[in-house]
Assembly symmetry: C2
Homo-oligomer: 297 residues x 2
């Protein structure tokens, strides 16, 4: 028996797993009354011949941004037209600025080892330049109710849907808790005395999220970033089963909140200011050229 003989006999009975990030699906079914498992995975784009040329439907456009769906038709030797019926999502930026191009170009990541000295010399002065006006959007959220759909407001933090989340699919639930304290730019500012503060926030998040969304407390992954994308302390709250967040959820960028608390217990009074931290840093990050390129692994 071969694939081409077996597949027409396959009757699907259950979806065992479906992954919208990697475009894979695992189906349980039967062939001649016996169980069979069928796994399918979309093939990657051939970047030489992938530009959609049929069924192009624009969903929306805004300024230089256009998005929609489409598919790719090819004519084979016998002039028979074939179309990628499943199609693809399309984002077009036109005209694109140099900043757009820099953002979408892939930059290599380097593992850097940030000693307490490197922090004092390079990172801390950089963080100072990232405060002030650059954080006004955070203050707008905390004090001026800029985001209406905040889901939990506590005396010590505000929890709201992350911009990367569609707000609907629990599979990819992604919330962010921004604290009211403004003296914690990053974990580097956390000290032993902050343990009860962090534990209270952790407990509150784990208690409140399951009352707002259909997810159990033990299915939430709570973590912080180092380096974070903005220097006002915040905690990421993500469905523990979700893996589709690229570098931002990997060991070497994400640190579990529970691990932060455990580390504080043994780091001594001065906490994370005394720790050597290893993480992945993109060449496009300001810190790379500011001197972290001298601290590679």
């Amino acid at each position: 028996m071969s694939l081409s003989a077996l597949l027409p006999l396959f009757h699907s009975t259950e979806t065992l797993e479906s992954d919208s990030q990697t475009k894979k699906v695992s189906l349980l079914g039967t062939i001649n009354g016996k169980n069979a498992i069928l796994q399918l995975e979309k093939r990657p784009f051939d970047s030489k011949a992938c530009i959609p040329n049929s069924n192009i439907i624009q969903a929306q456009s805004n300024d230089v941004y256009f998005w929609g769906t489409g598919s790719r038709s090819t004519e084979d030797s016998g002039d028979k037209q074939t179309t990628d019926s499943a199609g693809c999502k399309i984002n077009l930026i036109y005209p694109a600025s140099a900043a757009h191009i820099a953002k979408y170009r892939k930059h290599p990541l380097h593992m850097v080892i940030e000693t307490p000295k490197a922090y004092q010399k390079i990172v801390r002065p950089y963080i100072e330049t990232q405060k002030g006006d650059r954080l006004s959007w955070v203050r707008n959220i905390l004090y001026h109710g800029q985001e209406v759909e905040s889901c939990v407001k506590d005396s010590s933090y505000i929890l709201l849907p992350d911009m990367k989340w569609d707000g609907v699919a629990i599979d990819s639930l992604y919330l962010v808790a921004i604290v009211y304290r403004n003296d914690i730019a990053s974990i580097r500012d956390l000290k032993q005395g902050d343990i009860p503060y962090l534990e209270a926030i952790r407990d509150s998040i784990l208690e409140n999220v399951p009352t707002k969304y259909p997810i159990a407390r033990d299915q939430l992954r709570l973590y912080v970033h180092y380096q974070p994308s903005f220097y006002h302390f915040h905690i990421h709250v993500v469905n523990a089963n979700y893996t589709g967040l690229g570098q931002t959820i990997l060991a070497g960028k994400a640190i579990l909140l529970e691990e932060v608390i455990e580390s504080l217990k043994i780091l001594g009074e001065d906490g994370f200011s005394k720790k050597t931290i290893t993480y992945g840093l993109s060449e496009s990050h300001d810190l790379w050229n500011l001197g972290m390129k001298d601290y590679t692994q």
Copy 2:
């Protein structure tokens, strides 16, 4: 201007980023002489209508395993046939056993908090059952040269391509270093006195891998797993830019080797046996029913 008017004018000049895992591509090009960025992403399968029915080509088969490629044809109302020309990869298991089905069915992950007590009571006895014959394949590699393509042999470890790696694409380089010491089942057995031992292995890996593969030492992510998939100490060595390893590379499963060493410096003489470790545990893992389900976050 709309997408359908703009796309035919797009002339691609450079691939900014291409991700074979998520099936995305970002192209730089021009439209009417101005820069434009085009991002494409394959759409996920519609699990109700995805079984390939045309162009089915079997690559190989072995026992109950069949694999190859194929695509999906649909007939629209006007009897015009459209085909997903990009197609998909196909894996078929037939007949599939109950064990096959359990393996491919998605099991929810829970965040568990393993205290030193939980380790002694539940995990340590379990690890004892995972030694002996279950590790004979490791001994075959270490002492009987079972894997010919080992790339680095050192007095303290053997470094070989991981089974998940195709052995070719540096983008997804994945090696595993298995140590010769057999008294370290997991990080739980690492003590302060092991710091020089771990540092020597780290230095040797970082020095040797770039001589065998075209990759710089600071582009290697070195980490261990807790829980590991087998209880003989080993270190994962992966291209730092690669994110396509699902749960196995996330904070809450992977711990950077550098972080293991840093932790040993402050954990005290008894090392990781005294640490509380938080990680994601699947319901399908033996440890879940052996008692770790009483230690959820």
